[in-house]
Symmetry: C2
Subunit: 177 residues, 2 copies
């Protein structure tokens, strides 16, 4: 099995966090690895807010629990808030597509990178795509012209059990030509 | 250094492909690993066309060389074409956002996964976001209601030189709160 396959099999949405703080250094490494992620024209249309202070962590947790499906998030020890930034494309490309044309895909990739580096360091993560945007904007003074792409909850998982992944079978997904 | 950091540092856009065929089994492993990628509501809004037959590879290469910036693609030995599929969201989520709300980010993540698994097996990749969509649609009979997200060129790199990554400094990207 390749190194990546091993990591991909282990990475999962952590929904039970241990009551154990997360080291600042580990969070720094996550953003260091994530920024190596590829992006259209290498525009790197992202910035990160790393939330560590318990009182701010509690505020962010609240913004993600609105649908009554994320109660476990109250036990997360840290968050990454991933913000979309303006993408400066190569002139040849900028002539044919708008600046943010590749941005959502780039942000999806950089967000996965954050989770993979976290997993690589023994941390669990859970990607949260639904949250109270206006409240988060206010909390971190994020201007309205910048989208908040995702919130990622971080903490040590309370168990190392790796669940079997529920995925569509390969033959439904792939054509070889 | 973590396993992931090591892999992220090695993965790069390969722009010089060796004249060496790519094993079918390795391409299968890439899609096997990629489908483990996370997605909003686990909707897995993707499918893959793995292009291996030399005459089809040549046709796909042509669709990516329109801007005169991708001549090296003529030497790619295979392609992944990543297609956006309909995303079935959880009912609670489907009430507040449209079906494809998370799709572009999910597709960005799954595309990075393809490249990371390829790298893990010694293959080089190059993500191509600009290509002749109508021509590709025609070639693979992809209906108009499905977006073709990305084309990824694959082959053995002609050198194992790892370039230094050109990325914005961390302090420009991150706030700790």
């Amino acid at each position: 099995m390749s190194d990546y396959m091993e990591l991909a099999l282990k990475r999962q949405s952590t929904r039970q966090f241990a009551d154990k703080p997360v080291e600042h250094e580990k969070l720094v490494k996550c953003v260091e690895a994530a920024r190596l992620s590829p992006s259209g024209c290498n525009a790197q249309p992202w910035s990160f807010i790393v939330v560590e202070k318990p009182e701010v962590v509690a505020e962010v947790a609240k913004t993600t629990m609105q649908l009554g499906i994320n109660e476990y998030i109250a036990k997360a020890k840290a968050f990454f808030v991933v913000v979309e930034e303006y993408a400066q494309l190569m002139p040849k490309i900028a002539k044919i597509v708008h600046s943010q044309y590749f941005a959502k895909g780039d942000l999806g990739a950089v967000s996965l990178s954050l989770c993979l580096e976290a997993q690589s360091q023994g941390l669990g993560t859970c990607m949260l795509g639904i949250f109270d945007r206006p409240k988060l904007r206010e909390l971190f003074d994020i201007p309205k012209d910048k989208d908040i792409f995702i919130v990622i909850a971080v903490g040590y998982p309370s168990s190392d059990q790796v669940r079997t992944k529920d995925r569509k079978p390969l033959e439904e997904l792939v054509r070889f030509v």
